[in-house]
């Protein structure tokens, strides 16, 4: 194997380490994969250095007649060159988190399914922060009886702005962004400017009866916020 192969490995490993140490990996995979990415990155960097060292030492060994190294030269890097594509993409411009584009294209989660009976919320405890999934499930469970009038706080990005409201969305991912399914909550009763599509917002509001399959929230305030550390639920 050539010095080039070793160098590609070092680059692959370095990209994995950099992604994980800068939290950029959260755009692409579940947070639980982080430690595994670190271990894989270290292993690949070590492998790359070992290959590089062997490649630099190879001529003298070869001269002394250890023929086995000769075989390894027969393997080119071949398709391994393609690994440079994601490396280049990630080192230079890390692709963004999934946004509004995918909301209409991927299967929406059927939120009616899933959860059992929810514990009722305390109406006097201030806004309750919850995931869009939980909000949707509570909305369909006993017609939203578990809210008992308590205000809620929802965080997501704007998938589509329409008159008098917008669609708030956030993706659920199970392993990586390839399996993402969006959850959409319709925000109604907003005044003022339409929010920017793909911008992140925190919505405080109250339960409103769902419209067909789509849960709704009646907003009392909408605040623009920076994207959260982990953009997925």
């Amino acid at each position: 194997m050539t010095a080039a192969g070793g160098t590609i490995s070092i680059l692959v490993g370095a990209v994995l380490l950099r992604l994980t140490l800068t939290d950029t990996h959260l755009r692409y995979v579940r947070p639980e994969l982080g430690p595994f990415l670190l271990v894989a990155g270290l292993a690949v960097v070590a492998l790359g250095f070992a290959t590089l060292v062997r490649a630099l030492r190879e001529t003298p060994t070869d001269v002394h007649g250890h023929g086995d190294l000769e075989h390894h030269h027969e393997h080119g890097i071949g398709v391994g060159w393609l690994l440079l594509a994601p490396i280049a993409a990630l080192l230079l411009v890390a692709p963004p988190t999934l946004g509004a584009y995918g909301v209409g294209r991927t299967a929406n989660i059927e939120i009616r399914a899933g959860h059992g009976v929810f514990k009722p919320l305390d109406p006097n405890a201030g806004p309750v922060s919850m995931t869009l999934l939980e909000y949707g499930q509570r909305s369909f469970e006993r017609n939203g009886a578990s809210f008992r009038g308590a205000p809620v706080e929802l965080t997501g990005f704007v998938a589509e702005a329409e008159a008098g409201g917008f669609q708030l969305a956030r993706y659920q991912i199970a392993c990586c962004a390839a399996d993402a399914s969006p959850i959409v909550v319709k925000v109604v009763g907003t005044a003022g400017d339409r929010p920017v599509v793909d911008g992140w917002v925190r919505v405080t509001g109250n339960f409103r009866r769902p419209e067909g399959d789509v849960p709704r929230v009646s907003a009392t305030s909408v605040a623009e916020i920076p994207a959260p550390r982990d953009p997925y639920e």
Partner: protein, 335 residues
């Protein structure tokens, strides 16, 4: 160094030629990286388009998420090459495929990984002399029935243990069926590339490094091809096409089996996706979970690269049919 080369005449010249080739390769890596850096503004402009950004995110996600599993698979494969003596596997494994195939299928339960890792391992088992039918059965069963996959299925389908049991049974059946069909009709010539034991000789540590390096670049390259394909399909094909198919029971099984091939989701995550597709019948979602770990665009690319294209165009359809039939039968009985 150059003195030694001179004294050794012809050999030294060959060594120098190789050295030049190695240096050219290194220069090429640097050129690619520098070119990409120069093109950075153009790349940023591209990512401003939502469709391109969506594609890039999915492409990078599949590649990144597969890396730990690929590294695990490559490590095990290299360890087999370095430390399992040639001739051991054929001695310990049963000779008759009827015995070896089920053993290999059940052994798959011991490898906690997803499908990307099992391809280099199966190749290594074959090059170490394991019967091809047994190695291929292991290739199919390991990502489908390992403990992590079973647990994630149980989590995705709470209070429905019959789904976990159905997935286990249907995957095991499909893997064994493919193994037995291969044992009966498979041609050894199709696996010629995997039988070669190139570079397996030498000191164990040196074999470990060179095998791991070779397998990583090779499998990694095909993983990139597969991830790009899956990202393209996910960006281009709207999911609403599938919703129109969910009405008919037979069509919905085929639709979700096809979707599993196109989406190329990691086998440890597909249960959650299957759980969310409630508009489809339980049996069709079972087909999604049985087909996914065995046939998908990323795996086809990996297998074509590892075993050869002629192998992949026979093996992938065979596996697809076995997985769909097995899921339909088990789903009909159990679900």
């Amino acid at each position: 160094m150059s003195g030694t080369e001179l004294m050794n005449g012809g050999r030294g010249a060959a060594g120098a030629r190789r050295r030049i080739r190695a240096d050219l390769g290194l220069a090429a890596v640097l050129v690619v990286v520098l070119a990409a850096a120069a093109l950075r503004p153009a790349l940023e402009d591209l990512l401003d388009r939502p469709a391109v950004a969506h594609w890039a995110t999915i492409f990078v996600s599949i590649t990144i998420a597969a890396m730990p599993f690929l590294v695990l698979g490559v490590t095990i494969s290299a360890a087999i090459a370095a430390f399992v003596p040639a001739g051991l596997l054929p001695r310990v494994l049963p000779d008759r495929p009827a015995a070896a195939v089920p053993v290999a299928a059940v052994a798959g339960a011991a490898l906690p990984g997803c499908e990307c890792g099992s391809v280099p391992i199966a190749r290594r088992l074959i090059s170490r002399g394991a019967p091809a039918a047994a190695a291929l059965t292991f290739l199919l069963s390991a990502p489908a029935i390992n403990p992590i996959v079973m647990v994630s299925t149980a989590v995705a389908f709470p209070d429905q243990p019959e789904v976990v049991a159905a997935r286990f049974l249907a995957s095991l059946l499909a893997a064994i069926a493919v193994g037995l069909v291969w044992a009966r009709f498979g041609k050894e010539a199709l696996l010629g590339r995997a039988r070669r034991t190139h570079g397996d000789e030498g000191r164990p540590l040196s074999v470990l490094v060179s095998t791991a390096q070779h397998d990583l670049l090779h499998a990694g390259g095909f993983l990139v091809v597969g991830a790009a394909t899956a990202a393209t399909l996910q960006t281009v094909v709207p999911r609403s096409v599938l919703d129109t198919l969910s009405g008919s029971p037979a069509l919905s099984v085929l639709a979700l089996a096809g979707l599993a091939v196109l989406m190329a989701i990691c086998s440890e995550a597909d249960a959650f996706v299957a759980a969310s597709m409630t508009q489809f019948s339980m049996t069709s979602r079972l087909a999604f979970m049985v087909v996914g770990p065995m046939v998908d665009v990323k795996l086809i690319a990996l297998q074509a690269g590892t075993f050869g294209r002629r192998f992949a165009i026979r093996f992938a359809p065979l596996t697809f049919v076995a997985a769909v039939v097995s899921a339909a039968l088990v789903g009909w009985v159990l679900l």
